[in-house]
């Protein structure tokens, strides 16, 4: 049963790119892989460009912190740092 669920999960996570003919293309820069690997399990990457360019560095820290602490995103500290650095550098305001 676990294998089946994992296969479905994998299909679902892979789905966002396929679900839309025009997948969200993030800016290619260091940290993009960490964003893609962690964020789109739960939501489209569209939320990132949509919320730009106006969030200050502290606001991006708060957003990523909320995803981990409140929304329970299983992101380790090393990836969290890569993600916030990437968002501040590429989608900050």
């Amino acid at each position: 049963m676990n294998k089946l669920i994992f296969a479905i999960l994998a299909a679902l996570i892979a789905a966002p790119a396929a679900a839309d003919d025009k997948p969200v293309a993030l800016k290619k820069a260091p940290g993009m892989e960490a964003v893609e690997a962690n964020c789109q399990a739960c939501h489209s990457l569209a939320y990132i460009p949509m919320n730009s360019p106006f969030l200050k560095p502290a606001a991006w820290d708060a957003e990523v912190g909320k995803m981990i602490k409140v929304m329970g995103a299983p992101i380790d500290d090393a990836d969290a740092k890569k993600i916030t650095d990437y968002l501040k550098a590429n989608y900050g305001g």
């Binding site: 679902l12 679900a19 739960c42 939320y47 730009s52 360019p53 106006f54 969030l55 329970g72 299983p74």
Partner: protein
């Protein structure tokens, strides 16, 4: 392995979930989403016209969870057709529901006789109809200045429909609601992808749940609800913002203590005292903020976009007005930036919770003309000329002031 929420894979067939995504693969994309002026620059890079199954093209802000707003053209009638109605979800695990096996559990510590209702059971209660605006709390968030984080909606996270269903009051009475019930909580079948994400569960005060017009609706404009608007049944809270209008309702709980959880205690709150609201949600108020409740008075010009070209001469400008359920009493239009105001003609009245059409004939000159609109409700409340800033970008009812270019 990510702790995926298995509830829906066990509760509904995995094949159905995958089939739904298969359907979404067939999105027909249309270029050129016409965005509201003033939304963050980044919105333009991700928004597009896209077609969900059973829908006409809507402005897609995100496909997962699905958040799609109506283009201005869809809001030109007081009833928004089902296939043009906006779509808003918080969490991405959205099962397709089989109406034959669908059930709502009714209980909670404030209910003496818990029960289960099938869709057929729901239809046995006296059927009630109400025409009501469903507007996302964050409609127009994208226009906030300064911008705030969230789904960056323009003007289209709203619609108005004729809802038919059973009164929540009748359901609660059958479940033996106790006198010390202070809130009634509603959960929908949609849930989080990851177990640790707080499920989206919302409560309303008992007095609002027991209102004659608060319904569990199974019909929208004479048809079953579209999947993306809450099939088979959703909560209708006339006058109040969309956050309470739980889709795919699977449980109703009468509570003698306030509901907790992120979606009640942290999200959907407005600073105390900033907005002229009558309806209060006292059991959830803190010293500094309160849950959002009723909608503020608002209007929208639907006939023209800002900067539209018109022929000099007679031009009819029209749109919609609405409020938190007290009813629109007048819509005033100014063509000189707010010095002189003239009453617009009001259209069909579909009830105090409905969109109220209005129209105004002006004489356009060559060059720039301006049109400013301010709706007033029966309490005498109007719109604001300056944004009442709040951190989540709620209750934006700034009067529009658009330009029409005579040429």
């Amino acid at each position: 392995m990510i702790p995926i929420n298995r509830r829906h894979f066990l509760g509904t067939s995995a094949a159905a979930s995958v089939a739904l995504l298969g359907g979404m693969n067939r999105f027909a994309l249309a270029a050129g989403a016409n965005l509201s002026p003033g939304v963050p620059a980044g919105v333009g890079s991700i928004a597009s016209m896209a077609t969900l199954p059973g829908k006409k093209p809507l402005i897609m802000l995100a496909d997962r969870p699905p958040n799609y707003e109506a283009p201005l053209e869809y809001l030109r009638t007081p009833i928004t057709p089902n296939d043009q109605f906006f779509v808003r979800y918080h969490l991405a695990d959205i099962p397709e529901i089989d109406a034959k096996t669908y059930k709502i559990k009714v209980g909670g510590d404030g209910a003496a006789s818990p029960l289960e209702l099938t869709l057929d059971d729901l239809k046995k209660f006296p059927a009630v109809e109400v025409v009501a605006v469903n507007q996302c709390s964050g409609n127009r968030r994208g226009l906030s200045n300064p911008h705030v984080a969230g789904v960056e909606w323009g003007y289209g996270a709203m619609g108005c429909a004729r809802w038919k269903g059973a009164r929540v009051k009748d359901i609660l009475e059958k479940a033996g609601i106790k006198k010390d019930t202070i809130e009634v909580a509603f959960d929908g079948a949609d849930g989080p992808v990851v177990d640790k994400t707080p499920d989206f569960i919302k409560s309303i005060p008992a007095w609002k749940a027991l209102d004659e017009s608060t319904l569990i609706a199974y019909e929208m404009n004479g048809q079953p609800l579209p999947h993306f608007n809450g099939f088979p049944a959703r909560l209708i809270v006339p006058g109040w913002t969309g956050t309470y209008w739980m889709k795919h309702v699977v449980s109703i709980n009468a509570l003698t203590k306030p509901l907790g959880g992120f979606w009640m205690t942290a999200a959907y709150r407005v600073p105390l005292g900033k907005f002229p609201l009558i309806a209060r949600f006292v059991s959830q108020e803190t010293a500094v903020n309160t849950p959002i409740t009723e909608m503020v008075v608002n209007s929208l010009i639907t006939s023209h976009r800002d900067g539209a070209k018109v022929k000099p001469g007679k031009v009819t400008v029209s749109g919609m007005a609405w409020d938190g359920g007290y009813g629109i009493s007048s819509v005033q239009v100014s063509t000189d930036g707010g010095k002189v105001w003239t009453a617009a003609k009001l259209g069909q009245d579909l009830g105090r919770y409905a969109l109220r059409p209005w129209s105004f004939e002006l004489t356009a000159r060559k060059g720039k003309n301006t049109v400013m609109v301010n709706a007033t409700n029966k309490l005498g409340q109007g719109q604001t000329s300056e944004l009442i800033f709040n951190p989540a970008g709620y209750h934006n009812n700034v009067m529009q002031n658009i330009a029409l270019v005579g040429a």
